[in-house]
Symmetry: C2
DNA sequence: TTGTAAGCGTTATCAA
DNA sequence: TTGATAACGCTTACAA
């Protein structure tokens, strides 16, 4: 691999002059600079990042960590991060969980955006520091070096459930995600609060526990059908599970929304074409913001005030009018 | 950041002993080793990757490059790569186009899997070398240092079109992807060949050019409708465009498959829930294989024989029986 | 079994 | 305007 030395030799100057030329320092003659730059291009020289980072510790690279490959909104988030980072001359590295700790601690990156429940709190608390700020998505950890960006799930979920009730639906099931995640808890809390304030009873056996994947939604709905406990409306903690549930309902001969209404959360790529009523989370935007805060924090303007962003209910055709459901019960 | 020196000082030994202990060299006393390892854990020491890679050039990291954030099968591919890499003690770095060249040339990675049409041939030819093998997905470049893994689109597309014809469909439109991509060319070629061998005429005005995104499929179908050129069957070069086309058809009051049949390609997450007839490409598997070949090539067992992998037609409900379409024409 | 020292590619300091 | 040199954190001969 061609290094700075080779360029120096070819140009007949010292390595420091080459380095200065490349980094836009002004202590180098115009002619020399041009000559050097031309040579670099010609010999296709690229600075070795390891040497660079070793010397000045400054990586100008941010890390994004994720690992649940089923949740395809990641691509939008990455897109947002990527845009902001490259506008600010930061490189972006993306890592699945397995390699992530290494890259966080290796000095190759100057900060990290974390969206992965598998990353343990202890680890993050240990890694985060003055010189290695972290931005958390969908999660909160108290630390002077971590900023949280969390979607306010409560408000839109409350609006959604209230709207469903107003449309005449009465008997609910809730299909939850992983129980340890903050977003699932919040979505469920909103659901319960609205039912309470409408004096609608909800018994624990109508809570079904899933993992945000289609299959778990499918299984949950299968169980409802087999045990003859199909409700008026299945409120799901995300779209994937809602899609899974719809599939099972269809197989079981139930019509959505005539027999059962279904709601999701996320507005994933599937939601719009399937007509799923759901909540839209601005993924590109939160990726962009995450990168923005991270880079500011790296630059020393530490801001770790937790941030809530808002999301919007999208009414689509998987929720109709409860009346039709009532008719079903009558017959 | 705690470095090897700090550990050495704390353990009362030299840095080389620490290094030897960490790298499992046998010239270290049992007691010393244990003591050192314990200290590393305690002080949460992690080797600095820059120093390491600078010294021995050997990064044990592979790079995956992509950038079209709309194509969500990437996640499956990444999953496959990630699994093979971590089973073989390689780290995985993922990069959008913008940062990719830097990471290829930085010495931080020892090889790259490329799935991004925006990466120019010239660049790849320049980067690839004995010490930096590349695996290309969906693309072929002649080079002693690059291996291609390409999906055989021809056979399944031919099978698909033949099947559609046998079901009674006669008038076709083709909705193509980016014209410069090999996979689009091959899909179109198969389509044409089968039409030819069935003596079905196809006029150029029924070729619509898209970019693999939903919107372009939507626009194309809108145009068909507005110009009253709706065919019996729209064969699309990928699923996204097929979904877009279906949306436009629906809005225009056309029923799939009763009025028009639609086929896709990719078996994306959308295909199954929407009942789209398509071709399934084993994404996880090809990611896995790409990682496998790349790592073998890095290890010096260079194999650059281009590889074709096969894909399978999945018949679903967006293709019915051409008879119903014929009825429509009669009325 | 352990320590010393050189060197990987870069940049910063200081001297020429 | 340029060049020599030290330093970054690590590994590896080689010496002790």
């Amino acid at each position: 691999m061609v290094g700075i030395k080779d360029i120096a030799k070819a140009a007949g100057v010292s390595v420091s002059t080459v380095s200065n030329a490349l980094n836009g320092k002004k202590n180098v003659g115009e002619k020399t600079r041009e000559h050097i730059l031309a040579l670099c291009k010609e010999m296709s020289y690229y600075p070795n990042a390891a040497g660079k980072s070793l010397k000045n510790g400054d990586a100008n690279t941010i890390l994004f960590n994720f690992s649940d490959f089923d949740r395809n909104f990641y691509l939008d988030i990455i897109n947002g991060i990527s845009d902001y980072a490259s506008d600010n001359d930061f490189d972006l590295m993306i890592c699945p969980k397995k390699s992530c700790e290494k890259f966080m601690r290796s000095g190759l990156t100057s900060g990290c955006i974390v969206l992965d429940m598998q990353m343990k709190n202890d680890l993050l608390l240990d890694v985060a520091s003055e010189n290695y700020p972290i931005v958390l998505l969908d999660r909160y950890i108290e630390s002077p070096y971590m900023k949280s960006i969390v979607v306010n799930s409560y408000t839109p979920m409350a609006e959604l459930v209230q709207g469903v009730i107003e449309r005449g639906y009465k008997r609910f099931a809730f299909l939850g995600g992983p129980e340890n995640t903050d977003d699932n808890k919040e979505r469920y809390r909103a659901f319960m609060d609205v039912l309470d304030s409408n004096h609608i009873n909800f018994s624990g056996k109508n809570y079904y526990s899933g993992d945000y994947r289609q299959k778990s939604g499918y299984m949950a709905a299968k169980i409802m059908i087999l045990s003859d406990e199909v409700p008026d409306c299945i409120v799901c903690a995300n779209d994937n599970m809602a899609i899974g549930a719809m599939k099972a309902l269809k197989e079981g001969g139930y019509k959505v929304p005539d027999d059962v209404a279904v709601t999701g959360f996320d507005n994933s790529v599937l939601a719009e074409p399937m007509g799923l009523t759901t909540v839209d989370i601005p993924d590109y935007e939160r990726g962009y913001m995450a990168a923005q805060y991270l880079i500011e924090n790296i630059r020393g303007n530490m801001d770790t005030e937790p941030l809530k962003i808002s999301a919007k209910v999208l009414w689509r055709k998987t929720v109709g009018h409860g009346d039709s459901v009532k008719n079903r019960h009558k017959r």
